[in-house]
Symmetry: C2
Amino acid sequence: MTAELSTVLLVDRHRGTLDQALEAVRTRAFWSPHPEHPKAYPDPEAGRAAFEARLNARFALDQPGTDDWAGEEHSPYGIELGIQYPHPDPDVLLPAMRSAVPAWRDAGPEARALVCLEIIARINARTQEFAHAVMHTTGQAFTMAFQAGGPHAQDRGLEAVAYAYAEQVRTPQSAEWTKPQGKRDPIGLRKTFTAVPRGIGLVIGCNTFPTWNGYPGLFASLATGNAVLVKPHPRAVLPLALTVETAREVLAEAGYPRDLVCLAVDRPGEGLAKTLALRPEIRIIDYTGSTSFGDWLESHARQAQVYTEKAGVNTVVIDSTDDYRGMLANLAFSLSLYSGQMCTTPQNLLIPRDGISTDQGPRGYDEVVADLAAAVDKLLGDDARANALLGALVNADVKSRLDAAPGLGGVALASRSVAHPDFPHATVRTPALISLDGAKPDAESAYLSECFGPVSFAVAVDSTADALELLRRSIRDKGAMTVAGYTTSAQVEQDLEEVCFEECAQLSLNLTGGVYVNQTAAFSDFHGSGGNPAANAALCDGAFVANRFRVVEVRRPA
Amino acid sequence: MTAELSTVLLVDRHRGTLDQALEAVRTRAFWSPHPEHPKAYPDPEAGRAAFEARLNARFALDQPGTDDWAGEEHSPYGIELGIQYPHPDPDVLLPAMRSAVPAWRDAGPEARALVCLEIIARINARTQEFAHAVMHTTGQAFTMAFQAGGPHAQDRGLEAVAYAYAEQVRTPQSAEWTKPQGKRDPIGLRKTFTAVPRGIGLVIGCNTFPTWNGYPGLFASLATGNAVLVKPHPRAVLPLALTVETAREVLAEAGYPRDLVCLAVDRPGEGLAKTLALRPEIRIIDYTGSTSFGDWLESHARQAQVYTEKAGVNTVVIDSTDDYRGMLANLAFSLSLYSGQMCTTPQNLLIPRDGISTDQGPRGYDEVVADLAAAVDKLLGDDARANALLGALVNADVKSRLDAAPGLGGVALASRSVAHPDFPHATVRTPALISLDGAKPDAESAYLSECFGPVSFAVAVDSTADALELLRRSIRDKGAMTVAGYTTSAQVEQDLEEVCFEECAQLSLNLTGGVYVNQTAAFSDFHGSGGNPAANAALCDGAFVANRFRVVEVRRPA
C-alpha cells in the first residue's frame, strides 16, 4: 500500500492520544485533546470564508448512486443556505458501501482507530468553519456552536473510538489452546479471533446538535469496521456534510475506500430515513430525535441494532440549599442556555408548596419561583449577553410551543423577544416559567409531557417526599436525560440517589457554580443512562460499542 | 452483617479463581477450575442417592407466591420423575424479587461475583447429583450429562461472571474531576459511578442442555445485580431446580435475600413463559429454543433485553483432506454424539459431485458418503459404546423427524435402534444419513430447514465454489451455530474464512482428532457468533453482559 497516510505515520501522530483517551475513560478525570476556547483556533476569518463559500452551491462528494440533488436549509438566523447535496439511489449506494467493508475489516482495530483519530483531528482543524455551519443550522449562538459543535463533539467522537478500540482488543487476535489428556498427548488448537463488522451503520442526525449527537454513533460504527451512511436532519445537513467530506478525504489518503462514509440527504417529505432504516444492508442505526420515530425504529428496524436518544422530562427537586443565590444563578443559566433547546435542559422544578429552607432563611414557594424568574431576568437583562446565551429558536415548532405556554398555567416569567444586532430575522426568545399546582390533576398533562424549548414548569408539590415520588414517576413513565437536586439534608440526598438508582437516571446535586446540569464532559460524564425511556443507550460505554461488531473464531489443529 | 459467608471469607476462597478466569478470557488459552473427569468427584453413590431422594416428592423452595405445585417430567430413559415444583403467582413473586434487588445492587460488583463463584463451587460439589438430574431430563448419556451438564456448564457460568465483573469495574466507583479555567480557579466535581441492575432477568431453559445453556444468562444477570427468575423447560426442571436451591442457600448464608433467585414451573399448556416475558418487572430474558418462540420474544418483550439462541443449519464443506480416515472418524463422532441433538451438530455435509482429493487418492461423492456411513457404523458397532455416545432421544418430536427422514432423499445410512441394558424403555437411535442432490430444487426444502436430531444430509454440489455459495446462503437465511471445513487448499481455506467473516459464523477447519466441531470450551471458544439468525448473542463476550446493567453517575461540587 502506498497510501499517503501510512500506518506508521498514523501511529506516530495519534497512538499517544488514543492511549490517553483509553486512560481517561478508565479514570474519568478531566481530559480533552481539543481546546474549547476559540482563541486556540487560528484564523477565524478563513473559517467564516470557508463557510460562506459553501452557500448557494452544490456540495459534491463524488459518491456512487447520486441520482439527484437535494437541500432545503434555512438558517434560524434568517440566511438561506441554498446548498444542494447528493440525493442517493440506495440500490446503487448501499451495495457500493457494502463492498468497501472487507478492506476496512481487514485493517484491524488499531489501524481503524488511528484513521478515525486522523478524521477527528482534521475536523478539529476546521473548527472555525464548523462553528458557522452549526450556528446556521441549529440556531446555537456562535460560542456554543463553536464549543458544543466543535471540540466537545470531537471529544465525544474520540471517546467512542476509544471504547470501540478497547472492546475489540479484549479478545486476542490469536491463541494457542492446549488441553491436557492425562497420560496421552495433549490436544492442541490454533485459534484466530477476528472482529467483524455488522455491515452498514446508519446515523440519523438531529436538528439541534448534528455533530455532538452524531459523532458517537458515527465513530463507534466506523471504528468497529462498519461503513457509515449519514442521514442528517434536513435542516442541519452542512455540519455532517463537512464531516463526511473530511472522512472520505482521510480514508482515501490512508488507502481505504472512501465510500466507507457517505451522505444521504432527502427531498422534502420523502421520508428517506424510514426507507433506509429497513434496508437489509443497514445493520446498525444511531438516532437522536422524537420519541415517536425512535419507537418506530426500535419496533420496525429489526434487522439492525438500534441506539436511540428520544424525549424525556428532566426534573429538578428543590428541597433546601445552603447557597440560595448560587442555586438560582445556576438554574437560570441552565434554563436559558440555547433557549432550553437541549435534551438535558431541566423542565420541571419541583418545589414544596410550604417553601424551602435556605442560607438566607426560609423561602415560600412563590418566593422561590419569583426569585428564579428574577435571576433569569437578571442573567438575560443585557441583550448582547442574552443573544450570546440564547441563540435562536431552531424551528417554528419550538416557537409554537412557547407561544402556547401561557395557557398551561400561571405565568411566573413571560418570554420576551430579543433583537439580534446582526441577524434581524432571527427568532430569539427568553425562557418562560409557568407555575403549576402538582396536586391538580389537569396540570399533569402539561408537566408530564416533554415541552421542548424555552418553557419550564415550577410545580408546587406537597413535600419533598411528594417530589421524590413524582420524580420517580416522571423518569419511569417519560424518561429523563438529567435529574438535578438541591438539598442540605443527607437523608434527602440519599433518597434522591435511591430514586435515580432504581429508575436509572443521571443525577447532579447542588450545582451552584460553573457546572450546569445540562452539560456533560466526554471521558468523564455519561450522557443519558440507557436505562429509562429517554434513551436506550448512554454516551459512551461498553454497551454502546460491544454489539456493533462480532468476533469470528477460526480454529485449526495446532 | 453477621453472615456465615463473610466477604473476607469469599475473597479468600474465590478471588484467585476470579482473577484466573479474567486472565483466561484475555488469553483464551486452555483453563478450567472444574475437572471434567468423573473420577475427580468423590462418592458417586451419594450423588445417585441424592437424585433418587428427589423423585416422587415435592421440591420445596420456600418462595413467596407459591399458589400450587406443578411438574410433569418423564425421563427419556423411561423413569417417571414425579417431582412437584412450586407454581408461582407472578403478582406476588415478582414484587418480592424486585424488592430484594437494592441490597444486592449495594453489594457491588466484587461481592456479587464472589457470591456467584460460591454458588458455582457448591454446584460443582454436587456434580454427581446433577449428572443424574441432567441425564434423566435430557436423555444425555451419563458421561456427557456429567461433563456437559456439570463442569462444562459451570465453566460457562463462571465465564459469564468474569465478563460481568470486568464490565462493571471498567468505570471507577468514584472520580475527582478538575477542569482548568485559565487564570481563574479550576472547577471541580466529585463523581460517583454505580452499576445498577435492570431489574429481574428471566431465564427460559431448554430441554437438551438446561444447565449449559442456562448458566451463562443466569450468572450474567445475577452478577450484574439483577434478580433472576428461572423458568425451566417443563421436561428439564430438576437440574435448574437444584441450581436455584443452591443459589438461594448461598445467598442467604452470605446475608442477601434468597428471593434474588427463584424458580417458576408451569402447568401443562399454561404458557407461563409468555406471561412472564411480558411483565414489566422482567427487564432481561435469556432464551434457548425454537426459532418461532425466540422470534416472538424478540418482537414482543420490548421492555426487556432479549438474548436468544434459536435454530440454525450447520454446514460442513468437504473440499479435500490429507487425513481421510481422521476426517471420517471425526465427523462420525460429531454426528453421533447425543444423537445429533446439539445445536452445534453438523446437519449438511456439502460434497462436490465429482468427488474430492484425499491422502488415499481421489474419492467420488458416493464413496465419501458410503465411507462416512461406514465410519458411523464402525463407531457405533458395539452397543455399549453406542449407548455411551448416543444417549436417548429427548422427546417424541425428535423421533418423528427421524422416522420421516428416509422420505427426504436417498438413505445412505439407516438409523437403527439400540437396546439399553439398564433402561429398556429408553429410545436410543443411531443417526441417519440422507443423500440429496443440491441441484434439485425440491431437495432444498429438506436441507435448508433445521432437522434437529440424528438426521444429517450429504448434499452433492457442483463444486467447492458452489458449496461456498450454499454455505453463505445457509448462514444468511437460516443461521448457523457452527461451520466446519475440510480442505488442503490455502485458497479454499481463505474463501471459507471470508464467507464466515462476512456472514458471521464460527469456523472449525480440518478437525481430524479429538476436538469436534460441536464442542466449545469456555474461556477460549465462542459459542455462536451473535451475528447470524441462529443466535443474537455469543457465549460469552462483552456484548452479552454490558447491557444487563447501567451506570448511574451522581456528581456534586468538589
